[in-house]
């Protein structure tokens, strides 16, 4: 038995890490079957690469890194409509704002949600609507949004992983929030 195999213990992987990796995947891709497949693939890919494991990180960190790459592949595949987004991004945002001077169009003025002072973070129904609104976002926007909010990834890291330009990145961050907010307003008030 070589060194790598004494550092790694594949017999215990499922017992020790499967739930953790599954949760990691589900949060990021929101698809139970796919998440399950990715965890399985991660274990198998890891087995092929045991020789590359140097013991510099923990087993868990190492497995998570493999899974993360698989998730990014999914993001890239899902956002194959990327070209289209690049095109839209070049247009000024005319849905919410007046194209001449950038002022809100009156019908899109943010209205108070009316729960600002009632611990909205714990309002179940409001959270439910938020979840539905998130699911309506285009796949690429949701990927960007998820990486930002759960991994605290930097803008540079997200651009590299998802192969988008910084300019497009900021447009997506802006649009995703504008759309999410508008969706909440429409479905809550």
């Amino acid at each position: 038995m070589n060194d790598q195999q004494t550092l790694l213990n594949p017999h215990n992987w499922v017992k020790t890490y499967a739930d953790y990796l599954y949760a990691f995947a589900i949060v990021r891709i929101n698809d139970e079957e796919l998440a399950k497949d990715l965890v399985q693939e991660t274990f198998l890919a890891a087995l092929q690469r045991t020789a590359a494991f140097e013991g510099k990180s923990t087993e868990r960190t190492w497995l998570t890194a493999i899974l993360k790459n698989k998730i990014i592949d999914v993001y890239r595949k899902k956002s194959s409509g990327l070209k289209q987004v690049e095109m839209i991004a070049a247009e000024p945002d005319q849905e919410f704002f007046n194209p001449d001077h950038g002022h809100w169009k009156q019908e899109h003025w943010p209205q108070p949600f009316g729960i600002e002072n009632h611990d909205p973070l714990h309002n179940k129904e409001f959270n439910h609507i938020l979840q539905l609104c998130m699911e309506k976002l285009p796949a690429l926007w949701l990927s960007v949004f998820t990486m930002k909010h759960i991994d605290d990834a930097t803008s540079e890291a997200i651009c590299t992983d998802l192969k988008i330009s910084p300019n497009n990145f900021w447009v997506i961050i802006h649009r995703a929030k504008l759309n999410l907010r508008a969706c909440l307003q429409k479905n809550w008030i």
Binding site: W13, L47, P110, N127, Q131
Partner: protein
């Protein structure tokens, strides 16, 4: 100072700066622009509050979700068997 006059009406730019600020420090000029805009625009002040709230809620929602999901034992068994199979090769 034409640019500073323009920013007073530019909610598109102001909301953009508010989102950018969550990930990158703004330049001094951008900070001034945003400050001037928010001072005169109550609609964007509402946006600011809601944008922050939504950010917090998304964060929490994603983290809560992570604790809710578990694999069932059947799936784990299948995974274990696949690994053992590979190890025998």
């Amino acid at each position: 100072m034409n640019k500073l006059k323009k920013i007073q009406y530019d909610c598109h730019k102001a909301t953009f700066l508010m989102e950018k600020r969550t990930m990158k420090p703004l330049t001094l000029f951008e900070r001034v622009e945003l400050h001037i805009h928010l001072a005169g625009c109550s609609v964007c002040r509402t946006y600011k509050q809601q944008s922050y709230l939504i950010g917090q809620m998304v964060h929490r929602l994603l983290y809560n979700k992570a604790t809710e999901y578990h694999l069932d034992e059947k799936d784990k068994k299948v995974m274990e068997e696949r690994i053992e199979e590979e190890l025998k090769k």
